[in-house]
Amino acid sequence: MSMGNWERLVWNQRDALIAGFAVTVEVCVIAFAAAIVGGLILCLVRLYVAPLRPIAIVLIEFFRDTPIFVQLMWVSYVWPELFGFPGSFFSAGWLALGLQSSGYLAETFRTGIEGVPRGQREAAFSAGMSPAQTFSRIVMPQVVLATAPSIVNQFTVIVKSSTLVSVITVPDLMSQSQRLVNIWYEPIEILTTTAGIYILFVFLVSSAGKFLADHLRRRYGLVAYS
């Protein structure tokens, strides 16, 4: 375990690792966007569309209470035959990650919406605002502020879970590093570097989340849900 090993196994392979990291970021960002949209839809249906409420509750519970690895395998191998999509492992990867997080985010949004006092809505209505205006101008800004830290936190969960997309052959950082290990059978330097990159990345994202939470609390005096 000399410095030469680090140069040969890690530094000289930096292109592969960087390409892998780029795929990791791509999968995570798409999954995160999908989770926010999906979570918002699930949450709104659960709160305001009475006939569909049971379906929303079952979906939220299913996404939250099924382990991510199981969901990933299920979406990759069962969905294409069942529904005809996703067409690639890449989309299966972000879809499974997005579905699970949408369940968690739906509950986060719900806590946020229910935290806005009823009187504010009534005041908005009596001031002549429409329900849509009330939601987008009165309720939503407060929900976003209050739930921002948990939303950031959910992104770190996605990053951690995204390591599993390597199992379905998506060429992310984890996958690239395992490929390199299988070429030389010298795992120490590569796997340690990969672990370090992931830990640092998650640490930076969650520190940003904490910073954001403190900032919001100071600026707006809000108690953040976490």
Binding site: M1, D65, P67, W74, L164, T192, I199
Partner: protein, 233 residues
Amino acid sequence: MSDSLKQALDLSLFWEYRGILLQGLVFNALVFLCAAVLALSAGLGAALMRVNHFFPTRLIGTLHVELFRNAPDYIMLVWVHFVLPLLIGIVIRRRVEFHPFVSAVIALGLVYSGYFAETFRAGIEAIPLGNLDAARAFGMSERLILWRIMLPQVVRRMLPEALNQFVSLFKATTIVSLIAVPDLMYAVSMVTQQEMRPLPLYTGAALTYFLIILMFASGVRAFSERWRRKILA
């Protein structure tokens, strides 16, 4: 579509292999139990280090928490299984290999010790300082203070959160199949290779885990709510 739907929901194949699959589930439970014990003890250790007055001790505790809380389960699992034995081997100059089960317990135990440490710490910091001063004034030893004054209050306060983390830990045990611990997912992939019918098998696995975790999670939620109202109010 309706044909494949019928196939996906026809769980008779899943039922046919119930013996192997159930054995796999037992492995999930075993990994969970051993990792939980490790996570609780290492977590308590790290939390006590973090609230220590001695700075280097506090630093080690903080490093432990930040390292393991921010590490993805899967990379830790692979690292512990493939790198840690080599490092130990270099130190003791002998070839070392970990049984997959041991690697799984160490990796998940360490990752969750990071989460448990934070839960313990929140519980410890919520104890009024006066309690500790009073105990010291009575001449209680530090060890006695830990067991009689601190832990009972900490456990009471952290119970709901800790139960949630146990649920997460159980979910995490599904990835141990990736280093060939013969758990339920491992059994499913083996049977899939034999039968070439992933639909009913993966659907069955997803439903099985979902039902088990739903049962635990909703039990935990109901319990936490009652607990918060009764004990923490």
